[in-house]
């Protein structure tokens, strides 16, 4: 249940740590983002870029506060109903940043579990990168 202004953890090595939802894509304005939904986010908190990387290409690729990207929701606190009758619920809200108009993640790594629904929605690469899907 992620709306405008909700803060979400980031699960990749793109440099962003916490992002804020500014738009839920492909939905009614009243609707919220659940697992597998896409949204536009703005970076609120980013990892500081180490001094050793300053001026290199790698430093330019890292995200900074205020950057805007697309993201897909991978975990929610709100229980998600599955077709087999079970409900899955995680302890936090988390997302993975995506390149615009694709299903490929911005980073090269995904840390932490993701929900199994992503595979059905076409985010195969993301699920493969994740250490485990529940």
């Amino acid at each position: 249940m992620l709306y405008l202004k909700s803060l979400v953890n980031v699960l990749d090595n793109s440099g962003a740590q916490i992002v804020e939802c500014i738009k839920v894509l492909g939905k009614n304005p009243k609707n919220c983002a659940r697992i597998g939904d896409r949204m536009v986010v703005v970076v609120k908190k980013a990892k500081p870029i180490p001094a050793s990387l300053a001026g290199t290409v790698a430093a330019q690729q890292k995200l900074r506060r205020g950057d805007i990207r697309h993201a897909v929701v991978v975990r929610t606190k709100q229980p998600t109903q599955r077709p087999d009758g079970t409900q899955i619920r995680f302890d936090d809200n988390a997302c993975v940043l995506l390149q615009p108009n694709t299903t490929d993640p911005v980073g090269t790594r995904v840390t932490g579990v993701v929900a199994r629904e992503l595979k059905e929605k076409g985010y195969n690469k993301l699920v493969l990168l994740a250490p485990r899907s529940v």
């Binding site: 409900q87 619920r89 995680f90 302890d91």
Partner: protein, 196 residues
């Protein structure tokens, strides 16, 4: 003459003078009967076979039928029955095996007994994140439910929702913990065999 008339009208008419007969009005009578009453004819059929034998509760009977359909062995019913002393309680560590052999291990936070709608809520911690899964017990997809471990000390609570996010009481990565224990046991058994 009067006496005769009293005893029988017929005789009276006969004995009466003709003038009297002429003065009497003509009476039209009919010798047949009209069927004035219409009868509503209803066909009577044989009663169909009773679905529920007399004296039995419909709700209970249907529930029994459904239980037999979704739990033919009766193992799940036996495990979750209120009469079973060893039935799961909050705090137990349980494992759910599905038909596709995927498993989920977790601590039981809540058991909601509701007939066929009985559910269990299992919680575990995977890669540092708490994951909770609610299972429908009588789902035909679920092959087996078993209790792996029973705690030595129980908190006096029916539901264990309070452990969420509390470092002192929260579950660890139960899957990893059990794997580690199994490895240890295997090693111990190997060592025993070597000494023999």
């Amino acid at each position: 003459m009067l006496n005769i008339a009293r005893s029988s009208n017929k005789v009276a008419y006969l004995t009466a003078p003709l003038a009297v007969l002429n003065m009497m009005p003509l009476v039209h009578t009919r010798n047949y009967q009209l069927n004035m009453r219409t009868e509503n004819v209803v066909k009577v059929y044989k009663p169909p076979q009773r679905l529920v034998p007399p004296g039995k509760d419909v709700l209970k009977l249907t529930q029994e039928k459904l239980f037999e359909r979704y739990d033919p062995d009766g193992e799940k019913r036996k495990l979750f029955s209120r009469k079973n002393i060893m039935s799961p309680r909050a705090g137990d560590i349980m494992q759910v095996t599905k038909k596709d052999k995927s498993t989920f291990i977790g601590m039981l936070l809540a058991l909601n007994r509701n007939g066929l709608g009985t559910t269990i809520l299992l919680r575990t911690r995977i890669h540092g994140i708490g994951v909770e899964n609610r299972f429908q017990v009588y789902n035909p997809d679920i092959e087996k439910i078993e209790i792996l471990r029973v705690p030595t000390v129980r908190w006096p609570k029916e539901k264990y929702y309070f452990i969420r996010g509390l470092k002192k009481y929260d579950t660890g990565d139960l899957d990893a913990l059990l794997r580690k224990e199994r490895r240890k046991e295997a090693k111990r058994l190997e060592a025993e065999n070597e000494t023999k």
